[in-house]
């Protein structure tokens, strides 16, 4: 339970730190940057909690599968968040110009 509490605390702290950094850069708008960072952060911390929970249950296969599936989903959202931050709120950069 303590581990889950620490992970919960870290999740909130990391979210705050990233949003503070974005604010300094002037890119802290709620959509899409804030929301995508929140989803990425939540999925990655959930995958860590899943791995810990599965290992406690001696379900090694479940731990690895959780890391792969949830981790992959987190990475995908992370890439979307990175692109949105880099391209001033646009996930897909326009090629018209």
């Amino acid at each position: 339970m303590l581990i889950y509490a620490i992970l919960g605390g870290l999740f909130v702290a990391v979210q705050f730190l990233i949003m503070s950094k974005l604010k300094q850069m002037g890119k802290a708008q709620i959509w899409p940057n804030g929301i995508l960072v929140l989803i990425t952060n939540a999925i990655l911390f959930f995958s860590l909690a899943w791995v810990y929970g599965s290992l406690v249950e001696f379900e090694v296969q479940a731990a690895f599968m959780g890391l792969v599936t949830y981790g992959a989903a987190g990475v995908v959202f992370g890439i979307l968040a990175y692109r949105a931050i880099k391209n001033d709120g646009k996930i897909l950069k326009s090629t018209k110009n």
Binding site: M1, L2, Y4, A5, I6, L7, G8, G9, F11, V12, A13, F16, F46, A49, W50, G53, S54, E57, F58, E59, V60, Q61, A62, M65, G66
Partner: protein, 419 residues
């Protein structure tokens, strides 16, 4: 620090604390009094007769037709009593999960079970008030509140109430057990969770300790609740597997749905529990029956049937029993398990089995991670692939030798249950 910074830091600190507490709280074990989890549909004003299909052949079932009674003899369709001759025998070899220690653990866990003990615990509790008058409650709803709270205090994992229904009582009690001795108005149905850590070690004999401990708890919790009711002035009778058929009573009491393997599934406890009941003449407010997608889930999953070593769990659709197996009740459309095959296998292995329960995708540790995953299972459409995902994640496999090697260490390190 200026006021703006102070407010900002306070907000962050509060966020961290709330986040931590929310996650820690979710990891704690909640009490399931009236299950209302997400995805659970409560059928207001309905009964089991509205949710399940019955035909003209439906009538009271005779207890001497259940497979255990048939193995005890005095039946026109007896089955070999092999299991009863070997299950409790002292072990000569210290095989993994089947040694002297494991056998001792099992025998200790089941200390409140066995014929004599059952007579002690499962007996009528006559009214026993100071002034000879039963306590009056403003409404059946108020009475139910106190009964459920008491059941919670006595460590029931979940509790529900249904009206007394003769149809789900055995037509005739086997001679060794007491008649109720009064006309009940209500039945309090109690679920007692089995120890996941031990139960997952089925089908080796140490796995039996998980069921045996729950049997002991059934005897204790139900007899305590019966005594509580008798001191309030109402005749009551505690019961384990006897007197009435537990699964339909639990469905009527809003505790879950019947599954392919013939047992009850509870939305939060899953498949790993046993059912006890208390019959009482107190008027209590019944729970409404619930559904949470088990019908559709079991139609697709079939994991219990695939894992059953004796092929006793059917792969077919729900049907009405044709009467070829006297232990299968006629008149209800259901997935009928073949208890003759099941019991024969128990005798061969000198161990009751439980593979259907432990391979079921609903058999998971009760923690927030699995509760989160269950949210997906109640989503329409996802149920069809849940079995595939469960297999992919490696759940429900036979236990490895490592699990048997470490079991005593894990028991030693078990945390005491917190209030």
């Amino acid at each position: 620090m200026n006021r703006r910074d102070f407010l900002k830091k306070s907000a962050v600190t509060t966020g961290v604390v709330v986040g931590s507490v929310a996650l820690s709280g979710a990891a704690a074990k909640p009490m399931k009094l009236d299950p209302q989890s997400i995805g659970t549909k409560v059928h207001k004003g309905k009964t089991i007769y509205d949710l399940m299909e019955f035909n003209d052949e439906f009538e009271q079932f005779e207890e001497h037709n259940i497979i255990f009674s048939r193995a005890m003899g005095k039946h026109e369709h007896p089955v070999p009593p092999t299991f009863f001759q070997v299950w409790n025998a002292p072990k000569e070899h210290d095989d993994l999960g089947n040694g002297v220690l494991d056998n001792a653990l099992f025998n200790g866990a089941g200390i409140n079970w066995g014929d004599e003990k059952q007579h002690y615990f499962f007996r009528p509790s006559k009214p026993n008030t100071v002034d000879g008058k039963p306590k009056k409650f403003e409404s059946p709803s108020e009475a139910s509140y106190y009964v459920k709270a008491a059941a919670k205090f006595y460590k029931a994992s979940a509790v529900g109430i249904c009206k007394y229904d003769e149809s789900f009582m055995y037509k005739e009690n086997v001679e060794a057990f007491n008649e109720l001795g009064f006309k009940p108005k209500s039945v309090v149905v109690l679920l007692l969770q089995m120890d996941h850590e031990i139960l997952r070690l089925y089908p080796r004999p140490i796995g039996m300790s998980g069921a045996a401990l729950a049997y002991s708890n059934m005897a204790e919790v139900s007899s305590k609740l019966a005594e509580f009711l008798s001191v309030l002035g109402y005749s009551s009778h505690s019961g384990g597997n006897h007197h009435g058929i537990s699964v339909p009573l639990a469905i009527s009491a809003g505790l879950g749905e019947g599954s392919r393997m013939g047992t009850l599934l509870h939305p939060e406890l899953g498949s790993g529990f046993r059912i006890a009941k208390v019959f009482t003449e107190m008027e209590l407010e019944p729970n409404d029956p619930i559904t949470f997608g088990v019908e559709q889930f079991c139609n697709n999953c079939k994991k219990c049937a695939d894992n059953c070593p004796s092929n006793a769990v059917t792969l077919e659709k729900k049907s009405f029993a044709d009467g070829s197996n006297v232990s299968t009740r006629k008149g209800i459309k259901k997935w009928a398990t073949d208890s003759e095959k099941c019991f024969e296998y128990w005798g061969e292995g000198a161990c009751d089995c439980g593979r259907c329960i432990t391979s079921c995708p609903y058999f998971k540790y009760d923690n927030w991670v699995h509760r989160f995953a269950k949210l997906a299972v109640v989503t329409p459409g996802v149920q069809n692939v849940a079995r595939y995902v469960d297999d992919l994640f490696g759940y429900g496999k036979l236990p490895t030798d490592d699990l048997y090697h470490d079991v005593w260490d894990r028991l030693y390190k078990k945390q005491p249950e917190k209030l």
